[in-house]
């Protein structure tokens, strides 16, 4: 959550209200100047001196969907009572901005900087404690096997590689977008003639088939829901996978992207942002606690309980990008996957470890997950990412 300081200089209610609206806008609510006027009108209509009433009135007025509704109370308190998660100094805030402005936000150094920041801010990240240790554990394994594969993704961090990852994603998205129904339906233009309708219509013309009706197979595109692990053990792959997600989102296919470590965040809107600077800023804010431990099952659970109902349907492919190192019990992961399985069409697990020589899915979580997966594919090199396309074509 981004926090604007309560403007000490603000003179009247209207100025404070417009700053509040700006604060909400910065936190992703879709509100504008029109809402400022409405908010003042609403406050005039209720007893604005009663904080509870004012808060409820503004919530009803300014929240746009269930997500806003749940976050509103925190945002309200953060602004009017200065109780939000605040960074300690303005200097540091500026530092974060500069960091996020750089394209390489996921590099190791910035992560360390972030760690010190979350350290000063207990309320912001209550769950870094035990998660961190596990994350380090995962990273340790990753480093030990560092030399096994030469052209592993973590060595290909340049702009070119990112662009290639994005292209691979776009290709995959295209492959599943151009799906058509098996049945033919009436259409204005189409390859086949609709003989039945033509005959029926010809009766009016004395049996001459004058009007030609056609049939075509209507498009039935698949949707993608991608859940990307950004915990400690995945740090080295995160930037490439983010580029991959960006490719999916930007491909014109219906796609939805989430990041998770111990928490789950929807990043579709941030990735879709054309303003790359702002997108980077939003992502870096969301990635607080980035590089810590993993709670895959918990994150999937939260996904199912929150966004799942809307995001999943019979034409959805769920894509999980993770190495399967999980701090929670494997049974919970199996349960969560079974629930997703019921609602989605396919589950594909992209595992960066799988491309390594002699990889066996020995991590307990992976073993528990395997029966529920339609495909468990490697994703450790760009070639592997590019090679996914034909496999998706078949899904």
């Amino acid at each position: 959550m981004q926090v604007t300081r309560f403007p000490a200089r603000a003179s009247g209610l209207s100025e404070r209200m417009s700053a509040f609206i700006a604060h909400l806008r910065m936190n992703g609510l879709r509100v504008g100047p029109a809402e400022t006027g409405d908010a003042l009108a609403a406050l005039a209509a209720v007893e604005a001196t009663d904080v509870r009433q004012a808060q409820q009135a503004l919530c009803v007025l300014l929240a746009g969907d269930a997500d806003d509704w749940r976050r509103f109370d925190d945002l309200f308190e953060a602004y009017w009572f200065n109780t939000g998660k605040q960074r300690t100094g303005t200097a540091q805030t500026a530092h974060v901005r500069v960091q996020s402005a750089k394209p390489m936000i996921w590099q190791q150094e910035s992560q360390d900087a972030q760690k010190t920041e979350t350290g000063t801010d207990q309320a912001a990240a209550p769950d870094t404690g035990d998660g961190e240790a596990l994350g380090r554990d995962g990273k340790l394994i990753a480093t030990r096997t560092a030399n096994l594969s030469r052209r592993d993704l973590r060595e290909l961090m340049d702009e070119d590689a990112l662009r290639q990852a994005e292209q691979a994603a776009t290709a995959i998205a295209r492959a599943i977008r151009d799906r058509r129904s098996r049945r033919r339906k009436q259409a204005l233009r189409g390859p086949a003639l609709d003989m039945r309708r033509i005959q029926r219509a010809s009766l009016a013309r004395g049996g001459e088939p004058m009007d030609l009706y056609r049939r075509a197979r209507p498009p039935r595109p698949l949707r993608i829901v991608a859940l990307c692990d950004v915990s400690g053990s995945m740090t080295v792959y995160s930037r490439v996978f983010l580029a991959f997600l960006k490719g999916l989102i930007g491909s014109g296919t219906e796609a939805d992207a989430y990041l998770f470590h111990t928490r789950l965040m929807r990043v579709t809107d941030a990735l879709r942002d054309h303003d790359t600077l702002r997108a980077a800023g939003r992502l870096s804010l969301m990635a607080e606690g980035f590089g810590g431990g993993t709670d895959i099952s918990g994150s999937l659970e939260r996904f199912l309980n929150g966004y799942g109902a809307r995001a999943l349907n019979g034409r959805t492919i769920v894509l999980i990008l993770s190495d399967g190192y999980c701090s929670e019990s494997p049974e919970a992961l199996a349960d969560a996957l079974a629930r997703i399985r019921r609602k989605a069409r396919r589950i594909v697990w992209l595992n960066p470890l799988k491309g390594w020589k002699n990889y066996q899915p020995i991590a307990a979580a992976m073993q528990a997950a395997e029966p529920y997966l339609d495909a468990h594919l490697p994703a450790n090199t760009l070639d592997a990412l590019a090679a996914l396309e034909p496999k998706f074509r078949k899904l």
Binding site: A45, V46, Q56, V60, L61, A66, W69, A309, R342
Partner: protein, 288 residues
Amino acid sequence: MSLQHIQQGLAEVGYVADDRLAMALHLAQLLGRPLLLEGPAGVGKTEVAKALAAQRAARLIRLQCYEGLDASHAIYEWNYQRQLLAIRASEAQGGTREAQLFTDDYLLKRPLLEAISEEEPPVLLIDEIDRADEEFEAYLLEILSDFQITIPELGTIKARSRPIVILTANGTRDLSDALRRRCLYSFLDYPSRETEMAILKARMPEVEGLLARQIVGVVQALRKEDLEKTPGIAEMLDWAAALSGLGVNDMAQSREEVQATLVCLLKTAADYDAAPPEVTDRLIGKVA
């Protein structure tokens, strides 16, 4: 009308509204803005409109949305048959005037047009808006922001009185930002134990004491289980009616009836299988 009045008024017609919902209804009436209600199925979204209409003694006009709903079913349609008859009739008498054919007499009013042409402000319920197509949302925008409808042959019809508009959605599809911006928003969730007790008391005063506590307790516990279709308030009330109809006073004493009436709560085969007698016993045991 103040906030408390609304809450009290709704309670009189048997609807228990929490503070936020009361505030939302209060603002909707004050600012003349439509109210969008979202939430899982069976938490009483549609019921809000009915209760509000009953409380204000206003007419309730309901538009049930479905895929393929179009302007001619939602706004207005010309009565072609009557127009044709009129043409034939006037031809027989000699001479017709086209202008006479496009008047109120030949206009079939559908719910939206009906709602804005009432003298007394009615309550307009647009149910399950997310089932309608996205194009239909665009039709709604003019009506919801300006309360007017443009009919090409007649011109723009302005609302005689501003209806109180309530839209409900349960997330079949994402609604457009344009629609969301024009609406006040309220999210209804499953009620807390206390609220649910109050609802049961308001709706079925004959169910009381131990049985009421058990019913609410078991339903609350069932909602935490991993079910395909979580039971809503309507299901809870059905179940209460079934149990009291069978003369059950204490669930622990009459397990067979409880097990048999679970069909009121669990609406899929998988859910029903997930609640064998042992599970219900455990749930009842927890409550007692």
